[in-house]
């Protein structure tokens, strides 16, 4: 068995905060995926008898309904599912592009590195919101476009981190030994560089997921992201913010979900960093 993973898992288990956060996050993911099966109310069904009703356990709507009479619990679960999907897909995009880009720039170095990093600087100089609005105007609104545009921007930081990590190990002896034993550049990057920097990268990725969820919520709040009748946590919060004085639960339920989810993912990511970040003992 992979002893590095075993070691990391043992250290992670001895961190109660991280274990707790892991269970909370896993529970919320499970709820978002399986929850609708247990809830008799659909997220798009309108219940005209209970418009903007208060949360109550004995009624049909545990978390109340919004101003169109839709079950808030079902909507929040759908929102969580969409937000998580955006977070995971966009992180995966930024992870794969960022790792390959950063590792090549850092390992090859010299002029290649210069050019590649300048491209990153130019891209990160573009105002993000403007960029997303621009894409939405050209291609129209779609969820896949949202995934893509967030991922397209998220890889920049990842590439910088990977490049930094690569620079810190490219002069190490085992890389020199690999060169001396006749391994080509591509093989060295794939076999000797990337596996050795994957720890910090995974940690950064787990911290990226909440960041992206946050960003998606922000875009949706502005009306640039997920559109009705679909929901993400961001659109739900935006909707709730309008009813804040009359029906605060419409804001508080999805807001609470978002806060708990982000907190759990962040604590888990932190714990993962501590667990993986023991250098070569």
């Amino acid at each position: 068995m992979n002893s590095l993973v075993v070691d990391a898992a043992r250290r992670l288990r001895s961190n109660p905060g991280a274990v707790c956060a892991m269970f909370v996050a896993a529970g919320m993911v499970a709820l978002a995926l399986l929850g609708p099966g247990f809830n008799p109310n659909g997220s798009e069904t309108l219940d005209w008898l209970h418009v903007a009703s208060q949360p109550a356990l004995q009624s049909a709507h545990w978390f109340g309904t919004d101003r169109l009479g839709r079950d808030l619990f079902a909507r929040t679960l759908e929102g969580t599912r969409v937000s998580l999907a955006v977070g995971v897909v966009a992180s995966a995009v930024s992870l794969s592009v960022g790792i390959s880009y950063g590792a090549v720039a850092g390992y090859v170095g010299g002029r290649t590195d210069h050019v590649m990093m300048r491209i990153i600087e130019i891209l990160s100089g573009l105002p993000l919101i403007f960029f997303v609005i621009f894409l939405t105007v050209i291609f129209g609104r779609s969820e896949s476009l949202l995934f893509l545009s967030i991922g397209a921007v998220g890889w920049l930081t990842m590439a910088r981190i990977v490049r930094g990590q690569t620079l810190s190990i490219r002069r190490r002896e085992f890389i020199e030994a690999a060169v001396a034993s006749g391994a080509g550049t591509a093989r060295i990057i794939v076999r000797h560089v990337i596996p050795n920097i994957i720890g910090p990268v995974i940690v950064y990725a787990t911290l990226t997921v909440p960041q992206i969820i946050m960003f998606e919520s922000f875009l949706s709040f502005l009306g640039l992201g997920i559109q009705e009748p679909h929901a993400s946590l961001g659109t739900l919060i935006a909707e709730g913010a309008g009813e804040m004085e009359a029906a605060p639960w419409i804001l508080l339920v999805p807001g609470g979900f978002l806060a708990v989810l982000l907190l759990a993912l962040n604590i888990f990511g932190d714990g993962l960093r501590d667990a993986l970040d023991v250098k070569e003992r």
Partner: protein
């Protein structure tokens, strides 16, 4: 017989913003098949850089001039494609610190097998079997278990055995061992030297031993080259060198080795002074400022490495110690 490795008039310099540093100055040497040559010198004498240049491993700001031929073909300045056909298979290197020269996140078995997959086109299962046999040959206990362990789970001595095994996997013509025992403690050091000796008898490769310790290479080397300030100052058969060193620097080095027999010394003898810095421009003999035998001529005219009458022993000194 043609030498395996033939280095001719090799110079290595490092360019820095304001100046150039010369690490190796016009070094020529040959390594014959099955021969063991030791290169001895203190830190900064250029002994490692000679072979880094040969392997194409020089730092980015280094420039090498001269010629390095391996099996008759020029390899100095050769492209990575040509070098990778040689490096790791016919020409291999063992590094100083086994703690850092194995990739930390790959299992020992994978790292060993990869060399064969990469160079000999073996399948992974064949390569793994060969790796296991090699671990047995380099006397690694429990080879099967070691294959699936990570470098950090092995001791320094074991790791150096793995490195030696890795360097021998493809049946190399020449192995360059760059201070293979410096990072190990003394008893392990002796075991590793024994292993190198045994492997040399079994495999029959030529071996270059780079060391700062005459005592370590004494038992293994056929020939010893002494380097000082980027040049070879003396070249002699191993026994010959210990019996009668001709260069005052070699003599001073030998003098610094404490002896078990003989009178008890109050202080260990040391060489006074410092070696010249690599940026210094030297007209005369680089060792002259520290040499007890130096005369005016030594400071103005650089002594050349001369052929002695028997052709085997060479020394670069105007006033060599008489036999």
């Amino acid at each position: 017989m043609a030498p395996i490795l033939s280095i001719d008039d090799l110079s290595v310099s490092f360019s820095q913003p304001k100046r150039s540093l010369f690490a190796v100055r016009q070094v020529s040497l040959d390594v014959a098949a099955r021969e063991c040559v030791a290169i001895v010198g203190e830190s900064g004498s250029g002994k490692t850089q000679v072979f880094m240049a040969a392997m194409g491993l020089l730092a980015g700001n280094a420039a090498a001039a001269g010629s390095v031929r391996f099996e008759g073909g020029e390899i100095l300045g050769a492209g990575p494609r040509q070098l990778n056909g040689i490096r790791g298979s016919k020409l291999t290197m063992i590094f100083q610190d086994p703690m850092t020269s194995l990739t930390p996140h790959l299992k020992i078995g994978t790292q060993l097998a990869e060399v064969l997959v990469c160079h000999a086109g073996a399948s992974w299962s064949e390569a793994r079997l060969a790796a296991r046999r090699m671990l047995e040959r380099v006397r690694v206990p429990e080879p099967e278990r070691r294959l699936s362990q990570y470098p950090h789970e092995l001791s320094g001595g074991l790791r150096q055995r793995v490195m030696i095994g890795m360097s021998l996997l493809c049946g190399p013509q020449l192995v360059i061992a760059d201070e293979p025992t410096t990072a190990l403690d003394v008893t392990v050091q002796a075991q590793i030297m024994d292993l190198l000796r045994a492997m040399r008898e079994e495999v029959g490769m030529a071996l270059v031993l780079i060391s700062h310790d005459l005592g370590v290479v004494a038992g293994l080397a056929d020939r010893i080259l002494v380097m000082y300030a980027g040049r070879i100052v003396e070249s002699a058969g191993s026994a010959e060198l210990f019996r009668r060193a001709r260069h005052p620097y070699t003599a001073a080095l030998l003098n610094c080795i404490p002896s078990l027999s003989g009178p008890r010394l109050e202080r260990l003898p040391t060489l006074p002074g410092q070696p010249p810095r690599p940026e210094d421009v030297l007209d005369g003999c680089a060792f002259a400022p520290r040499c007890p035998r130096a005369a005016e001529r030594c400071r103005v005219e650089r002594p050349l490495l001369t052929n002695e009458n028997d052709g085997a022993s060479r020394v670069a000194c105007h006033f060599p110690l008489s036999p």
